[in-house]
Amino acid sequence: MNRQQQRHRQLAAALSSEFKLHLEQARRILSTAATGQVSREDFSAVLRSLHSLKGASRLLGSDILAQIAHRAESHFIELQEEALNPNARPTIALQSVHWGRCRAILDELEDAAHQILSAGDSSEGSSNTKSQEQSASLTPPTLPQETSKIEHDAVARVQVQDLMMLLELSARVNKNSNQIADLVNETCLLPVDPREWTDKDIGSWRNLVGQLTRASHRLSEFSASQNLNCEQILTVPARDFLGGFGRMVRELSAQQKKSVEYRSEGLHIRVELTLLQLLLEQLPHLLSNAVHHGIETPEQRALQGKSASGLVELIIETTIGHLFVRVRDDGRGTQLTELAERAKATLGGEFEGPSQELPFVEGLSSLADANLIAGRGLGLSAVRSQIRQRGGELTLTSPLNPQGGTLVEIRLPHGSWSRSVLVIRAAGQIVALPSNKIRRLASVRRNQAESVEGIPVNVPHICDLLDIPSDSRTPREGQEFRHFLLFDSPGQEVWLEYDQDLGTHQMVVHPLPEGPWPVKMLKGAGEIDGLGTCLVYHPEFFTSVRAKLDQPRDSHWLPDLRRGRILVVDDSAVTRLLLTSALEEDYEVFQAVHGNEAMKVLQSTPIDLVLTDVQMPVMDGIELLRNIRNHASLRDLPVVILTSMNQPQEQQLGLDYGANAYLLKQEFDRDTLTKTIERWLTC
């Protein structure tokens, strides 16, 4: 052993002994905190311990341990803030949220340390000594009594900026609601019988319908944003609560003289706090069952040809609308025949229900002898009862294979904040699409020239719809297949080509502020492990643009899917800003300082109407108008001239070149402008 190895070993040994002291201290403070009798000095001590642990882990070169210790520090700081805040409501609920996190993180810390130190110890043949030390301090896995009391009184910690965002959204929702109410009142002023309507009435009615549609769309968007914000506040990574069961399984198995490996998956998934509270209470029963009733002793496993060490897994998954929590073991499985015999003896007769219900019969256990923590036959039925109270279901499948194995699956209704998205690559862009809006994915060989098995191969590429340069998606060498997706859009079959499938992921979709991108293009954005920030697109955007490609110019944007997009062209910043402020409530407004720039915007952004000045540098309004009318795809775009040039011949010139309306700045009023815009937008 060289000097470096010797130093590492000394450090590991020191860390091992320190660990025990630090964790004991932290758990003691945690117990005291649960009762509300904890002092600042206590917290200072535990924070010093955790900090020391973090430093030692770094010294040892264990980033994992250091990170977990760091997270533990953060959780304890949060607990300290809540527990010692004189202004906070002194409820157990507040404490329990952080209490649960602290408890889980300490267990996770011990779990990670155990794995790392065991790996080091095993090479030195000292793992048995460690196990014996741990066995000596075993306690039955108990949960804090407080957690069962706080389900309906849970308190979430909310960032002030999140609250402000919610308030702002509420204000916008209210404003839109009021606007809708006003518009509805205005419609009441029209004659009851439509046959009596004049042309003016019809114009007013169309105007009102247009405004109502836009207001209701905005209302819907704001409400959706509000929901997403609330959901984000209410969720935390499952790891914060459920990350520490490894220790419990390890201790139980040691107590039972069994060897069990514990694995967990999906702890990064964000889950609603109240569901985590429920699972924090119920999962120990299921894991305990797996160890006590499922996994056999090493001797029994050897007789069955199994490995000496059993496996218990906790797997968390989400689908749209549901959270799945699975506890799986490779033990002997549920012996239904044996249970039926016990039922006959215990109940004094044959069990009348289906045999699959036997494991849920109260008072019936697969263990002959009951002890403090297992064999009393109450666990599974109580857990299922709790799950059902939350609208969920618990199912047990056993045996999973000829050698046994048990799978307990919990399905709970889950909020819609965590969404399943299909992530694809289109040239350099990563595109995320809601999975439930994709009906089919298909791949065909690159040399296939015609439709195959109903997959049309001559369809637009997503890059075409997003205006991504085609040279950036030259097929890579060896890229043999082309990939296609079919949107699940009612009434139409929309296939698009893309470059690469990056898989289905779960992500929290954050709403985006209004930005200078097409309305209804982006649903939001979020983070995906390994891919970073991803934009989530509205599938309807692609279907509507696809429809546009198939149709003549006059239906270039589906009006029911978007607010109007106005391009304001004026060299005066003040005029641009005045117009923008007058219009931006009802439309999405883009700006350009002269005609040349306007043409660039028009070629990169779908615009519904151009509002332009005449006298401008570089390219004036008349030249811009001529360019628009001569452009193949823009020639039908409505153009309204707003200028101070009030001579009749100047007005005639503008109209001759194809302006749809000619307004004078001297006579400017907002209503006239809005009515003119509405008229040409709805034409």
Binding site: Q429, L466, I468, P469, H510, G515, W517, T533
Partner: protein, 159 residues
């Protein structure tokens, strides 16, 4: 030590964050942030800023040329503008220093932070405030003695 080293940046970002809280206002604090965008140097009042960080800016298709993309800033997604005017170049999806504004959800992609400096005297009589190139929403407040320009988001000053 280069001014863009992470330690320096972190200190500056911290300083800017402090400004968010009136209680931590430091009277002698320099009043503008001097930064470089491409070959141009700008100033912006630090009271107009919320923070500054290194973050990944993701380009958004079908957006105007002045928009560099969106960036995740402390859990929220912000549009990020590009003042350089190098619009013909493809927008890279890379790590980028971004200064985030207060009062409006917008970040500015910048090439380098040059320092926090006291406001300088303007050079001669100033023309009326004028727009900044093709990036909407920004105006040049004044041209400073060294020829650099102090900018501001327009909503705070006009209309």
């Amino acid at each position: 030590m280069h001014i863009n080293e992470p330690g320096i940046l972190a200190e500056r970002a911290q300083l800017l964050r402090l400004l968010h809280h009136p209680a931590s206002y430091i009277p002698e604090l320099p009043s503008t942030l001097r930064f470089r965008c491409g070959s141009q140097i700008f100033h912006i009042g630090i009271s107009l800023l919320q923070g500054c960080s290194n973050c990944r800016v993701v380009p958004v298709p079908l957006s105007p040329p002045w928009l560099r993309g969106i960036a995740n800033h402390e859990g929220s997604y912000w549009p990020v503008a590009d003042l350089t005017g190098q619009f013909s170049e493809p927008k890279p999806d890379t790590e980028q220093i971004v200064v985030f504004l207060r009062h409006r959800p917008l970040g500015l992609a910048i090439s380098e932070i040059l320092g926090l400096v006291a406001a300088q005297a303007p050079q001669g009589p100033q023309p009326s405030q004028r727009p900044l190139g093709t990036v909407p929403g920004f105006i040049v407040l004044e041209t400073l003695m060294d020829g650099t320009r102090q900018i501001a988001p327009v909503e705070l000053h006009r209309l």
